[in-house]
């Protein structure tokens, strides 16, 4: 069977979707998966293919198509023609099943265009909405377009939508870290911490006896932004500032502890032998879009406004969520991963306001957060979710409310 998966969001979303597709492939080993992603991520092709069971990738040139529509000097049918050719390309593949992992209006329209008989996820069929029958789809539809509390990881909901039996991969205790990687920048300022925090963190790690090489990772365009850090940390030994390509990134992440803010790198690392320590700030939502891996650690603010809205800027006079996350708490979390501190001891020396969670797969194969220190508000069980979903189904929603934006929030 030939399968087409639509993953038309951002880079981090693509790597989360690969978890869904890898599970799909385990359950359907003979199915051939073609993945459609945005043209702007063509540079990630090699990495995507190496981390997944996807056979081939085709591209949706969103930027060119959108520009062609908006630029009044462009031919009126330029974008139409481009989309028409893409549709022909898809139809020539003779796809038997389409997996819509994108769940927005654009992808739903593409479903209609590609005219595949068997569709998992939402779509249109001759102008009518399809795929909203299942509880999982309704739950997703109602929850993931709003800034509300989520009970499930984005990947788990997608697996439910595709009716995949979930299988979980627990972490092994055998992990031996050979280096520490730190990703300090994010695409959104409110998800980042300040330079002093990172300098203090690296200094504390060294002061507490961590001798592993430390790599501060950024993209080539961000390397200038590290100049102040480099200056402040020039006396720290075995500290390197690197700007690897996506393909080179893997060799850094393998057998490393990755300390990261909410970026696509954590989703890449979730496919590798990496222990992730996430600094969850601003709109970063640890339940919905943390790294989809067991054994990840998340430090999150206890403020009532956290996580904030993905689409709006911070309404506080300053970023209070940053103040809750202390460098020493991150260092303690890292030190217990590399076994320089015992787990029991770590809990007692973390600062009182620290909110530290760790991830694990429960018996049902759902990714859960366990509070190592602090608490998780309103975490509900699988059974409770079903009850909640049933109630919602009976209340309303004959009309679909699909997302219009193009982001999962990852």
């Amino acid at each position: 069977m030939k399968v087409l998966a639509l993953s038309l969001l951002r880079l981090g979303d693509i790597f989360m979707h690969l978890h869904v597709l890898n599970t799909y492939k385990r359950h359907n080993p003979t199915h051939q998966i073609t993945l459609m992603i945005n043209e702007q991520f063509r540079h990630a092709e090699h990495l995507i293919l190496s981390l997944s069971k996807v056979e081939r990738i085709i591209y949706f040139d969103r930027t060119a198509i959108q520009q062609g529509l908006l630029d009044k000097n462009s031919g009126q049918l330029y974008s139409y023609q481009k989309l028409s050719k893409l549709t022909e390309e898809v139809q020539e593949l003779k796809i038997d099943r389409l997996l819509n992992l994108t769940h927005n209006q654009l992808s739903a329209r593409l479903v209609d265009l590609f005219a595949v008989g068997d569709v998992k996820g939402i779509g249109y069929q001759d102008g009518k909405v399809i795929g909203l029958q299942s509880l999982a789809t309704k739950y997703f539809n109602e929850h993931y377009s709003e800034d509300i509390n989520y009970s499930f990881h984005y990947v788990d909901i997608l697996k439910q939508i595709l009716e995949l039996q979930v299988d979980c991969v627990q972490t092994s205790d055998e992990f031996l870290a050979k280096k520490i990687c730190i990703q300090v920048f994010s695409a959104e300022e409110k998800k980042e911490h300040n330079t002093q925090f990172w300098c203090d963190l690296i200094s504390v790690l060294r002061a507490t006896g961590c001798t592993l090489p430390i790599y501060v990772i950024c993209s080539p365009s961000e390397i200038e932004r590290t100049s102040l850090m480099r200056l402040q940390l020039q006396n720290i030994e075995n500290l390197h500032f690197v700007a690897p390509s996506l393909n080179e990134l893997v060799s850094y992440l393998m057998e490393s502890v990755l300390i990261t803010v909410d970026t696509s790198i954590k989703h890449i690392a979730s496919h590798l032998e990496t222990r992730i320590v996430e600094i969850s700030l601003g709109s970063s939502n640890p339940v919905k879009t943390s790294a989809y891996a067991a054994g990840a650690w998340i430090l999150h603010s206890a403020r009532s406004c956290a996580p904030c809205s993905h689409s709006r800027s911070c309404h506080q006079p300053e970023y209070f969520c940053r103040q809750d996350l202390l460098p020493q708490d991150v260092a303690i979390t890292v030190m217990q991963i590399i076994k320089e501190i015992k787990l029991e001891d770590a809990k007692t020396i973390l600062s009182p306001q620290a909110q530290v969670f760790t991830t694990f797969f429960d018996e049902a194969g759902i990714l859960e957060l366990a509070a190592f220190k602090g608490s998780i508000a309103e975490k509900i069980s699988d059974q409770a979710y079903l009850e909640k979903a049933k109630v919602k189904v009976s209340v309303n929603h004959t009309t679909p409310v699909m997302r219009r934006d193009n982001e999962s929030g990852a």
């Binding site: 969103r62 198509i65 959108q66 062609g68 529509l69 908006l70 009044k72 000097n73 462009s74 031919g75 009126q76 049918l77 330029y78 974008s79 139409y80 023609q81 989309l83 028409s84 549709t87 209006q105 654009l106 329209r109 593409l110 209609d112 265009l113 001759d126 102008g127 219009r404």
Partner: protein
């Protein structure tokens, strides 16, 4: 009414065009005017370039020197075209078209430029006293005015358009194409436009 006047420029004699007594290019330094025009045109990485307005043709000569692809010039005045051909040797990369709507070549050009993204360069100095008609040529080439869509009504992409519902006073957007439909039959053409419309929200 096109006339030509003799001008001495840097020791060389040229016959330069005027419309209703107004010059269609710089009489002081048409070469420099052409150089500035080409600089402002930006990057030209395409196999074909359209130019609207021939004037005295200095800008076309310069374009042919710096660009290796095909140059297609649209001009409304036959006199200008004839003068250019009298004073220049033929170039296989250059076509100058008398841009009247009945012209079969113009229709072909309109069709190909509507589905492609070829650069269209205006030589506005030569539009003097006839700006509306020259300006309309851009809308014709891009398929963004009703008249252009009417010429291409039987082509894929415009079959569902109801011409009567299209505004005539502006360049048309994808949204106005969709809004003009009378029947919503969800044929492939309509599905394509509905998908494209999602990229405008």
């Amino acid at each position: 009414m096109i006339q030509f006047a003799r001008a001495e420029i840097q020791g060389e004699s040229f016959e330069l065009p005027l419309r209703n007594g107004k010059s269609l290019c710089s009489f002081r330094n048409p070469q420099q005017e052409a150089e500035r025009w080409l600089r402002n045109a930006g990057k030209l990485n395409s196999s074909v370039i359209y130019v609207i307005g021939l004037g005295a043709g200095f800008h076309v000569d310069l374009l042919l020197q710096s660009f290796q692809g095909e140059v297609r010039v649209l001009e409304l005045e036959v006199a200008l075209i004839e003068k250019y051909h009298q004073t220049h040797s033929p170039c296989h990369r250059l076509t100058i078209l008398e841009a009247h709507k009945e012209n079969a070549t113009l229709r072909k050009w309109i069709h190909s430029s509507t589905v492609q993204n070829f650069p269209i360069l205006d030589f506005r100095a030569s539009w003097v006293d006839d700006e509306t008609n020259y300006g309309e040529l851009r809308g014709l080439l891009t398929g963004r005015i009703r008249e252009s869509i009417a010429l291409q009504k039987s082509n894929d992409g415009f079959r569902c358009v109801n011409l009567e519902k299209l505004p005539t006073d502006r360049l048309l957007s994808a949204r106005e194409i969709v809004q003009s439909w009378t029947d919503h039959n969800y044929c492939q053409e309509q599905k394509l436009w509905l998908t494209l419309q999602e990229l405008l929200k």
